[in-house]
Amino acid sequence: MSDEWHRLLGLALVFVPISLFSFGGGGSVVAEIAHQSVAVHGWTSPNEFADLFAISRAAPGPGTMLSALIGWQVAGWAGALAASAALYIPPSLLVYAVGRLWGRWRGSAWHAAVERGLAPIAAGLVLAGGIAVLRVTPGGLGTWAAAAAAAALLMRWPRLNPLVLFAGSGALFGLAAQFG
C-alpha cells in the first residue's frame, strides 16, 4: 500500500469510531480528536491543534470542520475528504435508517403523539445549543447581549436577513476591540 493510502486509512480508522460516539454533536468529541491527533498519531503539535480548532470555529458550516482540517494537514485535499467522509457517513446512515423506519408508522395516533411530544424537547435542545455556543465564544457579557438582541430583532421582524445582523454584530465587536 502506498504511503498516501496508508495515511488516508489512518484518518478513517480514527474518525469512523469517533463519529459513532459523538453524541450531543461534534463538540462532544473534540477532546478525543485532540488526543488522537496530538498524542497517538502526531498529526499536529498541541499549538497547531489549537489553531485548527480556532479556524474550525470561525468557519461557517456544521461546526465539525475540525476533522477536515486535520485531514488536510495530514494528506491535503484527499485527507480533508477522507476525514469528512469518515466523520459524516456513519451517523448519516443511522439517521437515514431510523428516520425511514419512523416514517413507516405515519398515520397512527401514537406516531402523531410522539411527534407532538418531541417538539417541546426539540425547542429546548435548540435553545440549549445556543447557550452552549455562547459559553465558549470569547467576549463575555457583550456576546450574550448581542445574541439576545439578534434574537429579539428576528422575533420582532422575521423578514430581517440574519446575515445583516451577523455583519453588524461582527463590525461592532471589531470596533470595540480596536478602540475599546
Binding site: 470555529r57 459524516y88 443511522l94 435553545l127 445556543g130 465587536f173
Partner: protein, 182 residues
C-alpha cells in the same frame, strides 16, 4: 423536487451557518420561506438529529433531504451543506498564518458568532410557541434548556428521560380534544 434545487438550497444554508446555526437556517429557509416542510416534521427532525451521534446540522440535513427526495435527496442535501464550508475552512487555514496575530479579526468573528446564536435562540423560541402553548409543553422546553444548557447534563439521557413525559402529555391533550386527530 429537482435535485439541483435541493443542492443549491443546502449549499446556501451551509455557507450561512455560523456558530452551529444550521437548525435556525433550515427552519427559516426550508420551513418558513419555501414551505417544503411543516413545523412538526422539522421539530421531529431536530429531535432525531440530536439523539443520534454525529453533527446535529448534518443529521438534520440528511433527514430533511430524505423526506423531500428520498435517498438521492439525503445524499445531495448533505453534500450541499458540507461542500461550501469545507472549501471555506481550508482557505481560512491557508490564510490563517497572516491574520492570526490581529485581535480585531478574532473580535469580528466572535461578534458574528454571537449574532448567529441569536438566530438559533429565535428559532427555539418560535418552536416552543408554535403548537400547544399550555403549561406542560413549556415546562418540558424549560426543563430541557435547564438540564442540557445550564446544568450540562448529557443530552441523550435527558432526552430519553423527558420524552415519555412529554409524549404522555401530548396523548392526554389529544384525548381531551376528542381523540382521533392528535
Amino acid at each position: 423536487m429537482p435535485l439541483p434545487a435541493l443542492f443549491a438550497a443546502f449549499l446556501r444554508l451551509g455557507l450561512m451557518s455560523f456558530g452551529g446555526g444550521t437548525d435556525g437556517w433550515v427552519y427559516r429557509d426550508i420551513v418558513e420561506r419555501r414551505h417544503w416542510l411543516d413545523e412538526r416534521a422539522f421539530a421531529t427532525g431536530v429531535a432525531l438529529s440530536r439523539v443520534m451521534p454525529g453533527s446535529g446540522g448534518v443529521n438534520l440535513t440528511v433527514h430533511v433531504g430524505r423526506l423531500l427526495r428520498g435517498g438521492a435527496g439525503a445524499v445531495v442535501a448533505a453534500l450541499g451543506l458540507i461542500s461550501g464550508p469545507l472549501v471555506v475552512v481550508i482557505v481560512l487555514a491557508v490564510l490563517y498564518a497572516r491574520i492570526a496575530g490581529n485581535p480585531a479579526v478574532h473580535a469580528v468573528l466572535a461578534g458574528a458568532a454571537a449574532a448567529a446564536v441569536g438566530l438559533n435562540l429565535a428559532t427555539g423560541l418560535k418552536l416552543a410557541g408554535y403548537g400547544d402553548r399550555s403549561i406542560g409543553p413549556l415546562a418540558v422546553t424549560l426543563a430541557t434548556v435547564l438540564a442540557v444548557g445550564v446544568l450540562h447534563w448529557p443530552m441523550v439521557p435527558v432526552i430519553i428521560g423527558l420524552a415519555p413525559v412529554s409524549i404522555g402529555l401530548a396523548f392526554r391533550q389529544a384525548k381531551r380534544q376528542g381523540g382521533g386527530d392528535v
